[in-house]
Amino acid sequence: MAEPVIKVEQVHKWFGSHQALAGIDLSVMAGERIVVCGPSGSGKSTLVRCMNGLETMNAGKITVNQIDLAGGSAAVEQVRKSVGMVFQQFNLFPHLTVEENLCLAPTRSLGLSQANAQERARKYLERVHIPEQAGKFPLQLSGGQQQRVAIARALCMEPQIMLFDEPTSALDPEMIKEVLDVIAELAADGMTMVCVTHEMGLARAMADRIVFLDEGQIVEEAPPSEFFKAPKSDRTKQFLSRILQH
Amino acid sequence: MSWARQNLFSGWGNTLTTVLIGFVLVWALVPFLDWAVFSADWVGSKRVDCNTGGACWVYVIQRFDQFMYGFYPEAERWRVDVGAVLLMIALMLFFLPRVTGRLALVFLLLALPVGWILLTGQGLGLPAVETRLWGGMMLTVVLTVAGLALAFPVAILLALGRRSSLPVVRISCTAFIELWRGVPLITVLFMASVMLPLFLPDGASVDKLLRALIGVSLFAGAYLAEVIRGGLQAIPRGQYEAAAALGLGYWKTMIYVILPQALRHVIPGLINTVIALFKDTTLVLIIGMFDFLGIIQASLNDQEWLGLAAEGYVFAALVYWSICFGLSRLSINVEQRSGVYRG
């Protein structure tokens, strides 16, 4: 049997006296698409942020491609090169143009030449359908465009795995679709991804597995068909009834 | 142990930095401490009592009174002490939790003239002490406190003027503020000490200290005005409108509604201005006055105590540092307590 690309074992995380993660076990196989959902404050962001070392855990173990994230800064850096991340607030670098945003990490961290990096940038901007915006500054773009640039920026590192933390939550309704489409296309291309989202349409369409988190624990873990039709736990049912009302 | 590994020795670059800095610290601090403390001379009364090769603190101890009081007659120095106590009480009142600001202000407004009369001796039947005898830390404090006391009303008027709706007032206040902020204090002091006498009728003379004070307070007033203006800008429009709705006129609105709030906002900024002014008073030595630094500098040329520049400067630095650092902590403290500047 193949090794999972991400393996989370008994991870605990405290913020002061507040426990954000309480013993999480999760494996992600290559090519798998996982959607993480759950009520606000349940620890979804904390979980994905632990997966690329933005948050350090207090107990447990996470390995990405067999590299232990607890293995010091060199290990973390190696993991981050193969894991892309997209944030709720985009976090584009406002003082750099779109193209510079895309080229910064490939040149500085992968050692690509400027010309190669620019070529890559063009390629991924096309992939997110905004090749014409390369020369603009982030604040001159709409929210949906900014988030697509953020996705392209992560893709420029040609990561093996993509993490999304509520990529559409900060967007106006009319822009959500353009971002969801890009994510769905990536999924269709076979990218391994872990996506925190409340967009149940997206979950249904692309997820191999849905993970439901509450109070820092995995309450339910099932393929979408099962998850939506026959949720096992009451908490899941409650959550689904609230979120699917509209 | 694990703390040290994480913060000092993680990775070879980090370790190298630690070792390098540690080496420099030891290399610099050990001889300094040896000089300043372990092989220093503390007892004696003459230059020859300093023979160990370390710092000669005998000189500072011998001169201590002069560094504090300047040439103020020895028999009258109690007046300086009383003045200092008055000032301390006034300042403490401001920061005692149970005393209202108004009471503290009234006390301060009384203490200032009383202190001045006490020091000069005019009108109390005490022997008069000419200001040219004032010196040392006492003069430094007088310059700072009196300079501020004179600057404060000027600053409030300038700050209000800069926000006035009358163009003439606004432009002239702005120009006045920017003029003093654009030139070095030393030129202001030169101006006050050389030009001021030219403006006055023949025969009338202004005391040198007073001239310096005028220069200092014009200069400090401009900086204070900008600090206060910052506070005024932070007051929401609603406050003005509420006051207007209550039928208060401009001055009443300012005095009872706006200024009390604005000044509370800018206490940290005010303290920082006080620190800057306290350090800046050293410049009066260039126009021939003997403030704390001035009197130490002058004593370095004393034939009996030659070659003690390091001791003099280290002592002066220690005193200035303690006071300025103390004030800066106070400012941070106020800032955190009021919470105005957070968020």
Binding site: R80, F93, A154 | M191
Partner: protein, 355 residues
């Protein structure tokens, strides 16, 4: 109306007093004193000056010295200040502490005291030329000053150099746009060769009781530069710290998620955005430094205040004109710095931040 009348009456009264006083003391007025002979020498001067030169020329000597001290100190203070400000965020605990102690010590001690310390307790207390501190055989430090090598250029060589500099500058702009590093390097080499062709380096050397060759920076200049730049650096470090802290956490997390190395994260992500906060405050520090350079008067370094508002004022007694000119010069410098930093702010620091 009454107020205006009082102000005018007051002005007239002061003006009358002043005229009387000037007449009584036999002080001339007007600016003709600028043309008269100085009759005093100046120790440090960037342009030729002797006792026979005019007072107007003494003014320029002082002004140039002020600008020289300020320019050197601004550069040093900026470098030191940024280094210390960034060091306060170091992962190394010791380095962070040392940086904090530096800032808290230097900014709480009066600048004048620091100038005195460096001048009287350090530089003047150095050994004589024969026991100089020798740095690599090129630099020498003793109680006469700091001896450094000097670039000597043959006649007409200046034009060659100027041409080379202009070409290198143009090439630099080209490189920035096109990223051709080879032509850039080529021009640097060209510049270097032309330097070798027209210039030679004169190294100071001890001959007898003193040094010849090279050039010497006076102890006054050195003390002033050290004090001004180390003092201002403490304030700049605080500003840099505030600027860095103003950069949102998300920016740092994004850089981390992209596995940008720490130093690149600082250089390409944090600092450029911190500049938005830093630049206006930095402008203030540059202005303060320039104004503080007038403390030169206290150790008799011939800056503008020392030469003009000091020596010249003593000789001519024309206080009003001299103080007026001096203040006007500082105001001009202040406005110029504020203006050019404004431009820098608009074109560089605010890049991409105003849509």
């Amino acid at each position: 109306m009454v107020a205006v009348a009082v102000v005018i009456a007051g002005a007239v009264w002061l003006f009358g007093n002043t005229l009387d006083n000037l007449a009584n003391r036999g002080i001339a007025s007007g600016f003709s004193f600028l043309k008269s002979t100085a009759g005093f020498g100046i120790s440090t001067s960037l342009i030729d000056f002797s006792e026979a030169s005019s007072i107007g020329r003494a003014f320029w000597v002082g002004l140039l010295n002020t600008l020289l001290v300020s320019a050197i100190s601004v550069v040093l203070a900026t470098i030191l200040g940024f280094a210390i400000g960034i060091a306060r965020f170091s992962k190394n605990w010791l380095l962070g502490r040392v940086a904090t102690v530096y800032v808290e010590t230097l900014r709480n001690i009066p600048l004048l005291l620091q100038i005195f310390f460096w001048y009287f307790a350090v530089l003047r207390a150095l050994p004589g030329p024969r026991q100089s501190y020798d740095l690599a055989g090129w630099f020498f430090l003793n109680n006469r000053g700091f001896y450094i090598p000097k670039l000597e250029i043959i006649d007409g060589g200046g034009w060659v150099l100027l041409g080379a500099v202009v070409m290198a500058f143009l090439a630099f702009w080209q490189c920035r746009h096109k990223g051709i590093s080879r032509s850039c390097a080529g021009l640097a080499v060209l510049l270097f060769i032309s330097l070798l062709a027209v210039g030679s380096v004169s190294v100071p050397a001890l001959t007898g009781f003193n040094f010849t060759g090279g050039t010497v920076l006076s102890p006054e200049l050195v003390a002033l530069v050290i004090a001004l730049s180390s003092y201002t650096a403490a304030f700049i470090a605080e500003i840099v710290r505030a600027g860095v802290q103003s950069v949102p956490r998300g920016q740092i997390e994004a850089a981390d998620a992209l596995s940008l190395p720490d130093k690149d994260r600082m250089r390409f992500v944090v600092i450029p955005q911190a500049l938005r906060v830093i630049v206006p405050l930095l402008t203030n520090q540059y202005l303060n430094l320039t104004k503080n350079s007038s403390l030169a008067a206290a150790i008799a370094f011939p800056d503008l205040v020392s030469v003009f508002a000091g020596t010249v004022l003593n000789i001519t007694g024309q206080a009003i004109e001299i103080i007026g000119i001096t203040m006007a010069v500082y105001l001009t410098i202040s406005l110029t710095i504020a203006f050019s930093m404004n431009i820098f702010n608009r074109t560089t620091a605010m890049r991409g931040l105003s849509s």
